[in-house]
Symmetry: C2
Subunit: 389 residues, 2 copies
């Protein structure tokens, strides 16, 4: 087990009706906030009205910035930074999924930085301070509600890049599973895939002696899989299933499952190029990349892939032929993704394989990717090709 | 799943050599600290010298209070409060196990309270503020390093009572598994039992829909059991086994495994009477109480006890006879406790069954105990009797 530091200060407020606590929680940090959301379903569902009522009751003033979309844009972040400065807000309040939260985090760090916020994503600068960010989560997926991550797309490239800094971790996150009842199935499925991917990125590590975190990863994955099946078998409004998924999504990315180990993260990088060039949802891209990444690495640490197959997917008989067990696990994972409506090949998502060389070149922009196995441009190309078949 | 709030602000600094970071971490909070420890093994091992060197290097001054013992005493807490006030310390630094940490927490809350610190334990007052507490953990057991709990024994009763307040949660905890190599086996075993008990108290809940926390509880218990076996089979200096146990001990009691559910805690109350009257170590008392408590509750929720047997103890065949599976699980747990040198009956620990009525009366001092099943004096007496057989 490797040395580690772990501290997660996000206050989680979880359960029915918790969105009505947003005013009192916000008032602990600010008299005026930037309320950042899509302006679509957040308004239609009546959620934003509830949020405003709660802020009003707590004497918190707000200015609104709407228009956040999936794969949130740098242009809107820059607009938010200007607005936040002009209006002298003291906090950013995100209402939505990972996109609204990531966009809010970037605004929060950008407001207190003299240069261009994109510097953080280009790894030119380290963010040391940010305005506090609070969130109301409506899409369980990114785990951004208690993570140090923000992923933004620069429209000019397009480049999709992430930053990870302690100062952008939300101070509170409000999570009411009822708010997720009305998510379109595709979005629910993308979210489920995203949180599974966050765990798998951590699970596939070179560190051998991390039993506790292995157990926690496997247990969280099994819980997600079981409850996803409930939701996709008529349980859209099954509170407990929605609650398990929502809480699992936060734990998947809050840092706990990292302790004592170094995760991989090549698949996220490989997907970022898909998302940037083809506007494919992050979760859908991951459902395509992960099986290919595993197949490409089948000989890298076959025992770990076999363990994954046995412990997470219930594969039996991994005694004499670890590789066979590993492959069976990958197949079960693919079938699961398909069963919730996810694509698992380029053809399922209209991705043009002709752009593979371009994506492989772009993905190594900062050098090799991955830790479980270091991947260069040729490896990336091979994995994209496996995903295209 | 029940609504919950979860926030754990303790910064965990885990791994080899981390005790040398104590100076820089402490300097973030204080110029002068009360250094609180046993004065025994902490000194003999050279640890306290290292701590003083680190404090000195960070320009942090200290005053020492030694003499902390298992089942830490109110009298020493009161002495610590006076000393801390007189010396105007700004922080309490605990070096040791749960006793040193619990004692430090009580001092930290007492310093800022005008009345008698015992009021908090007698449930007469709520602690709203405390000096910051930092810890260096030498005995993985109580999980006090990131919990909101403190348990103190009032020598006048003797009464052993606990308090739970957010303000006494440590601001940082330094955990180096190497420091646990030299623990006597009995203390290692008591610690293992204590952390397992913390998880079992949470596992046995009336809440049915808590799959994720069930999985996390089961995975953590399995990890503890596997690594305990390694340590007790010649692995005293197996770093990874010691590390798994140490990290599991913190997670067992940091609040994560509580989320969405209400734990039981009757067994802890039942043990507090054993510890108070017979000076038995907390872990040893729990090893005696838990099997008896489970047997007494075998019909309360047989399915949960059977699940515990199957998922944690690997019992097979729990399809037609849940009770048989549950009993098999309890037997395996007893055998495990015995294998690491723990007592499982009164006779193993020289506890006089004649005092059962007295203990049963004392344990309901504040009313019924437990949440999984509410227990009154008669129930407590029956459980003590099962433990005596």
């Amino acid at each position: 087990m490797q040395n580690f530091e772990y501290c997660n200060k996000t206050k989680i407020i979880f359960g029915k009706g918790t969105e009505n606590k947003v005013g009192t929680e916000t008032a602990l940090y600010a008299k005026k906030v930037l309320l950042h959301h899509s302006g679509g379903s957040t308004v239609r569902s009546g959620l934003i009205d509830k949020v405003k009522d709660s802020l009003k009751a707590a004497n918190v003033d707000w200015i609104e910035l709407t228009g956040v979309q999936p794969n949130p844009r740098l242009s809107l972040v820059r607009e938010g930074i200007e607005l936040a400065r002009k209006e002298k807000v003291e906090m950013i309040l995100a209402v939505g999924g990972g996109s609204a939260i990531d966009s809010s985090k970037a605004i929060a760090a950008g407001v207190l930085y003299d240069g261009d916020v994109w510097d953080f994503f280009e790894r030119k600068k380290t963010a040391e301070k940010a305005l506090p960010v609070g969130t109301i989560v409506t899409i369980p997926a990114a785990g951004s509600e208690s993570s140090i991550s923000s992923v933004i797309t620069n429209d000019e490239g397009p480049w999709k890049r992430g930053m990870n800094f302690q100062c952008i971790r939300p101070v509170f996150s409000i999570m009411n599973p009822e708010l997720t009842y009305t998510l379109p199935p595709y979005q629910t499925a993308c979210g489920i895939t995203d949180m599974m991917a966050h765990i798998m990125e951590r699970y596939f590590t070179k560190e051998k002696n991390v039993e506790l975190t292995d157990e926690l990863c496997e247990g969280t994955l099994r819980t997600i899989i079981r409850n996803a099946r409930k939701i996709f078998n008529g349980g859209e409004m099954n509170y407990d299933a929605r609650a398990e998924i929502m809480w699992a999504g936060a734990l998947a990315h809050n840092g706990l499952l990292d302790t004592g180990r170094i995760g991989d993260w090549a698949s996220h990088a490989l997907d970022h190029e898909l998302s940037a060039l083809f506007e494919i949802a992050h979760g859908a891209g991951l459902a395509i990349i992960f099986p290919a990444w595993m197949k490409y690495n089948i000989k890298e640490d076959t025992a770990r892939l076999a363990r994954f197959a046995v412990k997470v997917w219930g594969v039996d008989g991994a005694f004499y032929d670890l590789e066979q067990a590993a492959l069976e696990g990958i197949m079960r994972m693919e079938n699961f993704f398909k069963s919730i409506g996810m694509p698992v090949r380029f053809t399922d998502a209209n991705i043009d394989p002709a752009r593979i060389p371009e994506m492989a070149k772009r993905v190594v922009h900062f050098g090799q990717i991955g830790n479980y196995r270091k991947l260069d441009e040729k490896d990336a190309e091979a994995i994209y090709k496996l995903a295209a078949q």
